[in-house]
């Protein structure tokens, strides 16, 4: 068996602590955390100690570490493009870039361009895209992408902190929230919906894009208190409806449903953060039901794929240009929602 790949992680926040470190701990024979960087040196050092890894407070030190073979970029979105560029320049074997890929189209395209130019593969963090059940069901869904008439995603979720607390013991709690938003303001509601699209809906929009190739028109957009949205958009005569509400005190429920002419798809996703296995995907036909469910979740599958790609065992399943297009799709939805909420569109 070959030596595990050395992983360097940029950013030691809750996503790194609650998602990537627990996930990587299950893949220790393939990937081993060797270096963690955070601008808060104390947090970086504390988190690194948990993995017996080195720590640093600047990106270049991590990139200069020869033990770092693949890089996970888990910093705020506005830093992603520059850090991907630096990691490719440092000759790393592969990069995992957390969502959102970037905050602007230009930055996203820069990431795609440097990946293409240097040949360094970039996997974009998208747990539902890589979910083993969702990947498997695609082999059996036949012409569903051509016949789907209606797609619905419902995300009724608990507070992220609850799941984070179940996944790790967080170093440095997130900052206390500021004053409550003025929800009477359309600008505030629009910005909340945008945050929902780019922060939450973004997990599922690449899946929705299998069935609705473009956002032709946003038909309805509304902020749902305390945090959520109700969105309806159209691609030709097909519609997608996205509903979300969080936090709730109930059992989470995160589902994707697609209605085609002769088959229906139902996917029930586990919540983020916890190692609760894959989604349960079910294909329903007039006289039969087939279902898929695996022990690994989307994060584990994503990391395993990254390792395979870095070791040359596999081609990149989802090219970075696809991820850029996914981002453009999300931005089109967010812009259309903005226009509706702000009354720019009759």
């Amino acid at each position: 068996m070959s030596k595990p790949l050395g992983v360097g992680i940029i950013g030691a926040g809750p996503v790194t602590q609650a998602i990537h470190l627990p996930t990587l701990s299950t893949l220790n024979d393939r990937l081993r955390v060797v270096h963690i960087m955070d601008v808060n040196a104390e947090v970086g050092a504390s988190v690194a100690r948990r993995s017996d890894a080195r720590s640093s407070a600047d990106v270049q030190t991590l990139l200069d570490d020869p033990a770092v073979e693949v890089v996970a970029i888990c910093s705020p979105g506005q830093f992603h493009a520059g850090q991907v560029e630096a990691a490719t320049a440092a000759g790393k074997r592969a990069i995992l870039c957390e969502k959102p890929l970037a905050t602007t189209v230009q930055e996203a395209q820069l990431i795609a361009d440097v990946s293409t130019k240097t040949g360094v593969p970039v996997v974009v963090g998208a747990m539902h895209v890589y979910d083993p059940a969702f990947v498997a069901v695609q082999q059996s869904w036949g012409d569903l992408p051509n016949t789907a008439a209606l797609v619905r995603v419902a995300a009724y979720l608990t507070h992220n902190d609850e799941m984070v607390d179940l996944a790790t013991e967080l170093v440095a709690a997130p900052p206390a929230p500021g004053s409550p938003p003025d929800l009477a303001s359309p600008q505030v509601r629009a910005s909340m919906v945008r945050a929902g699209v780019l922060g939450l809906a973004t997990h599922n929009l690449p899946l929705v894009r299998h069935f609705l190739s473009a956002v032709d028109e946003v038909l309805a957009a509304e902020f749902v208190s305390p945090f959520g949205y109700q969105l309806t958009f159209r691609s030709g005569n097909r519609i997608a409806q996205l509903l979300a509400l969080m936090p709730g005190q109930w059992r989470p429920d995160w589902s994707l449903r697609v209605w085609g002419r002769e088959v229906e798809l139902q996917v029930q996703f586990p919540p983020s953060y916890v190692l609760a296995g894959s989604a349960t995907a079910e294909l329903i036909r007039a006289t039969s039901r087939s279902s898929w469910r695996y022990a690994h979740n989307g994060y584990q599958a994503e990391w395993l794929h990254l390792a395979d790609v870095a070791e040359g065992k596999s081609e990149l399943a989802i090219g970075v240009q696809t991820a850029v297009d996914d981002l453009l799709y999300a931005l089109a939805l967010a812009d259309g929602a903005d226009a509706l909420i702000l009354g720019k569109q009759s």
Partner: protein, 295 residues
């Protein structure tokens, strides 16, 4: 076994609507002491089933009552004109009972849970309803909208800005609010998994989920509330809304106990509301205050 003497009422099915006739023949087979199907047409039967799909349905109701029927079961009710329904209710007041066959709104499990859910719905953040109907026709989609309103309207005092945002041969999407509650209603056709209505009423504290499946006559409606203590489901009841309505119609005729889960007045209100939403897809419908006849 029933020991009480029960009056048996004769029923004339509507042979112009074979689907409705087959459905009610099967339903009535579970109530053989209360009902006896007569192969004679409506003349002389205690109860006449009249399908709203027949354009002359109102004339046939009049004829049946004139011929002595004490009760009418209006099948396929979403196809009828609301003004005619109101007229019918007034015309036959005190003379004959008109019952509405509503497959979701009159569901006994829903009726038992409705008051509790209504209390929660008024402080919910989001109410989402989705119905799959039999056919990809405008009538079926419209019927799906009426059926959703029939279920949802008792939960709220009013809707604001209920607007049809999408209308295609296979889908109908309506959004709006009731106060601070975001409301979404979708009708889609057809579905390989059969006709059903799914309803989510979601607040931060509690989430209700109702699934009315109409793919089998006595498929139980599943109603579950999720909260911080876990999940609690309503008992499964293997009885349809159709059967419940027949029981209520029997009681209304023989005991003068008229307590329908879904009334003629409810149907008229829901049809009017649906027509306004359907017709006004380009402009928001501002719909408030149902009026006193909605209950």
């Amino acid at each position: 076994m029933s020991t009480k003497t029960t009056t048996t009422l004769t029923v004339a099915l509507d042979t112009s609507d074979l689907a409705a006739a087959a459905l009610h023949r099967a339903v009535l087979a579970s109530l053989p002491q209360r009902f006896l199907i007569t192969e004679k047409q409506s003349e002389g039967a205690d109860i006449a089933v009249i399908s709203g799909r027949d354009p002359s349905w109102i004339d046939r109701v009049v004829a049946a009552v004139d011929a002595g029927s004490k009760g009418i079961l209006l099948a396929a009710p979403t196809a009828v004109d609301p003004a005619q329904i109101r007229h019918l209710a007034i015309r036959f007041a005190g003379q004959a009972i008109v019952a509405v066959d509503a497959r979701f709104a009159a569901d006994p499990t829903w009726a038992a849970a409705r008051a509790e859910i209504a209390t929660g719905a008024r402080t919910a953040s989001l109410v989402d309803s989705m119905v799959t109907v039999e056919d990809a026709t405008e009538d079926a989609l419209f019927g799906g909208l009426v059926e959703q309103l029939a279920v949802l309207r008792p939960l709220f005092e009013s809707f604001d800005h209920l607007t049809c945002v999408h209308h295609s041969p296979r889908q109908l999407a309506v959004v709006g609010n009731s106060g601070a509650v975001a409301v979404s209603l979708t009708a889609s056709a057809p579905s390989v998994s059969g006709c059903s209505l799914r309803l989510d009423v979601v607040s931060s504290v509690r989430r209700w989920q109702a699934h009315f499946a109409d793919d089998a006559l006595a498929r139980p409606t599943e109603i579950t509330v999720y909260d911080g203590t876990g999940a609690r489901s309503r008992p499964w009841l293997y009885a349809s809304a159709h059967r419940t309505t027949w029981l209520q119609l029997h009681a209304a005729i023989t005991e003068e106990a008229s307590v329908f889960h879904y009334s003629v007045a409810d149907l008229a209100t829901d049809l009017e509301l649906a027509h306004r939403v359907f017709a006004g897809s380009a402009t928001p419908s501002h719909i408030r205050n149902w009026g006193s006849d909605s209950k």
